[in-house]
């Protein structure tokens, strides 16, 4: 018996040793690989942007951009400012870039060619010295016109020392300039990756308050939280008290946090007689586990049937 125990202990020890050795070696051998991947990925942002640019630009525009990207810091800054004098402002078809060390993509749904050129140039500042890298890009922010600001904010997920741009990113949420807000809010994974809960909720609520559709915000489902769900409910009460409405899609944000108050809200939605409201309430109730919610779902079956198509999803409310 003691032998058995000893043997078992030995086996465990062997496994542990093997495990630690393996993981240690994993760390040792993998670390350079991570760095390597990082560099490759950094190169690939440039390459990915350039590939899209190349597919949309004229030979003159391509030549101009390549020439500017080779310049020193001041030269690149000047090229960034002057880009629209040399690059057309035409829109380019949607594309995505997967962002390193994250589960999210940049989703460039309506970028323009000059914006793309500006972002490409931003990726050419030397990041070796963090302070000068920061002050270079920060100086562009401090003198940016609207289109420059849009290019800068949409490039944030691709910049070096990414997390350290978080305060700057929250400044775009504070702006009242529609396009600048859109540049951080839509198709941009930066908030989903780096915003704390407070900043994230502010982004969502400001978006709703400004009557912009939330569906293009990256990480909408992943970053749902209870505080936000309660704020959504409070916001709806305010709007209803003022005889105004809220977009049905926002109720999606309450799904994991449906409490009895929110069930009452959904009941109210059902009673508005608006098909989109009824659909939203239905979709929340279907996904939620709240028992009062389940009861409401049963009670309102007939209303839900008036929708006709019960296969409708949130996609239908993304407008």
């Amino acid at each position: 018996m003691p032998d058995k125990i000893t043997g078992f202990k030995t086996l465990i020890t062997k496994i542990l040793v093997f495990y630690y050795t393996f993981s240690f070696s994993y760390v040792i051998f993998d670390k350079p690989q991570i760095l390597n991947t990082k560099n490759q990925r950094f190169m690939s942002y440039k390459q990915e942007i350039f590939d899209v640019f190349e597919n949309n630009a004229s030979p003159e525009e391509i030549e101009w951009l390549q020439k500017q990207a080779e310049k020193n810091t001041t030269g690149i800054k000047m090229a960034f400012v002057g880009a629209p004098r040399f690059i057309s402002k035409k829109g380019i078809s949607p594309f995505t870039i997967s962002v390193k060390e994250s589960n999210f993509d940049v989703s460039a749904a309506n970028w323009s060619l000059d914006q793309l050129a500006r972002i490409y140039l931003l990726l050419h500042f030397d990041p070796t010295d963090k302070d000068s890298y920061f002050s270079t890009i920060e100086s562009l922010f401090l003198s940016a016109d609207i289109n420059e600001a849009v290019a800068l904010y949409s490039a944030l997920p691709l910049l070096e020392y990414r997390k350290d741009w978080t305060f700057r990113a929250t400044e775009a949420v504070r702006t009242n300039i529609g396009e600048v807000f859109d540049a951080i809010a839509f198709g941009n994974p930066f908030p989903a990756i780096h915003f704390n809960k407070q900043a994230w909720n502010q982004l969502i609520l400001k978006c709703i308050f400004n009557e912009k559709s939330i569906h293009r915000i990256v990480g909408l489902d992943e970053r749902r939280n209870e505080k936000l769900a309660i704020s959504i409910s409070d916001f709806a009460h305010e709007r209803w008290a003022a005889n105004r409405t809220v977009p049905p899609l926002i109720w999606k944000l309450t799904i994991p946090y449906v409490n009895d108050q929110i069930v009452k809200d959904l009941d109210y939605l059902m009673k508005t007689g608006d098909n989109d409201n009824i659909l939203a309430a239905f979709l929340v109730l279907k996904a939620s586990t709240n028992s009062n919610g389940k009861a409401l779902l049963n009670k309102q079956k007939s209303k839900i049937e008036t929708l006709g198509d019960t296969q409708l999803t949130w996609k239908y409310l993304e407008k």
Binding site: R85, G91, Q115, I177, G178, E179, E211, S213, R216
Partner: protein
């Protein structure tokens, strides 16, 4: 979505007055507009920073498609470089956005105004950041620069900025002084010519009956500011166009924080129509000439002006339901009920 026009129509005000009352009130209010139906205007000098959003609405309603906001002083002297920079930023940022909400294309000229040129240490710092702004999109000139008190300091910075304009190949918008105007105007033109500027690239502003002839004779553009009490009245303006014709003449409001009228350009056009000036001439002095003069910057695309709702729409506004050029929700100003 929320606060849509439909909602407003569903809930009409109970204080709207009889249809007859409304009709006659509208007629008095909008009478001059009957004379400018379908006309487009361009105000090449207006300080929207000091105007309200209601003025943007009124400009859009009166047919103003584009404006130029020259950098000027703010009614009191600035105390540091940062406030200059923030001001320039507002001209290329916030005002541009505010304007776009009403479908009006907003351009600006950037410069160090003559009054603040007298604060030499600060002026020197401002000169260092000016080039950064002159190459921005939508910056259509260096302005408004020139003389106020006509001091040596003003001359120094005027010359330095003419040099910048030459380098950047931008038009120059010259502010002519209130006091000792004739001499100040001549001096501004002499210096510009002496420094080798093409008079076709120079817009001399705030002209009057006394200055116009020399400005036109030397090949400069002559701008007239319709501004109550201190500058031109629009009846005088009509006489000037009758006398000199429309060539190289443009009208602006220079509306700012003073008692001024942002609708000076459309109102003057209406008066010109009433007084029998040919429509083609009115179009030149209230639209085309300014666009041609400042368009030499390469920064004005006339098609943007005529289709303001589609400005940058391809890339900026798709998918948004609000804050789109020309689609700002309307409110009924005559209603006592505010929703």
């Amino acid at each position: 979505m929320c606060q849509s026009g439909n909602e407003m129509r569903q809930n009409p005000s109970h204080f709207e007055g009889s249809p007859e009352e409304q009709q006659s009130a509208k007629k008095v209010e909008n009478n001059y507009r009957d004379y400018i139906k379908g006309m487009n205007f361009f105000d090449p000098h207006i300080h929207m920073t000091s105007r309200t959003t209601d003025d943007y609405q009124a400009l859009a309603d009166a047919g103003v498609r584009g404006i130029i906001e020259p950098a000027f002083w703010l009614g009191q002297p600035r105390t540091g470089l940062s406030t200059f920079q923030d001001y320039y930023n507002s001209l290329i940022g916030w005002e541009r956005f505010r304007s776009s909400q009403f479908g009006i294309k907003h351009y600006c000229t950037i410069g160090l105004n003559s009054r603040e040129a007298n604060n030499v240490p600060l002026a020197e710092q401002v000169m260092e950041i000016l080039p950064l702004y002159l190459y921005k999109e939508g910056v259509v000139g260096v302005g408004e620069i020139g003389f106020d008190d006509q001091t040596p300091e003003e001359e120094k910075f005027y010359r330095l900025q003419l040099e910048l304009a030459k380098e950047a190949r931008l038009p120059v918008q010259i502010h002519t002084p209130h006091r000792d105007k004739k001499k100040g105007t001549e001096r501004s033109m002499d210096i510009a010519l002496e420094m080798g500027l093409d008079p076709r690239m120079v817009i001399v502003d705030h002209n009057n009956e006394e200055t116009v002839e020399s400005v036109l004779d030397q090949g400069f553009w002559a701008a007239f500011t319709i501004y109550p009490f201190t500058k031109m009245g629009n009846e005088r303006m009509v006489e000037i166009v009758k006398k000199y014709g429309p060539e190289r003449i443009m009208v602006n409001s220079a509306a700012d924080w003073g008692i001024s009228d942002p609708l000076a350009v459309p109102k003057t056009a209406a008066l010109m129509t009433m007084k029998g000036i040919p429509a083609e001439h009115i179009k030149l002095v209230t639209y085309n000439n300014a666009i041609e003069a400042f368009g030499q910057s390469g920064q004005i695309n006339e098609s943007d002006l005529l289709e303001p709702v589609s400005i940058d729409q391809s890339k900026k506004y798709s998918g948004n339901t609000v804050l789109r050029g020309g689609q700002q929700p309307r409110i009924d100003k005559s209603s006592v009920i505010i929703k």
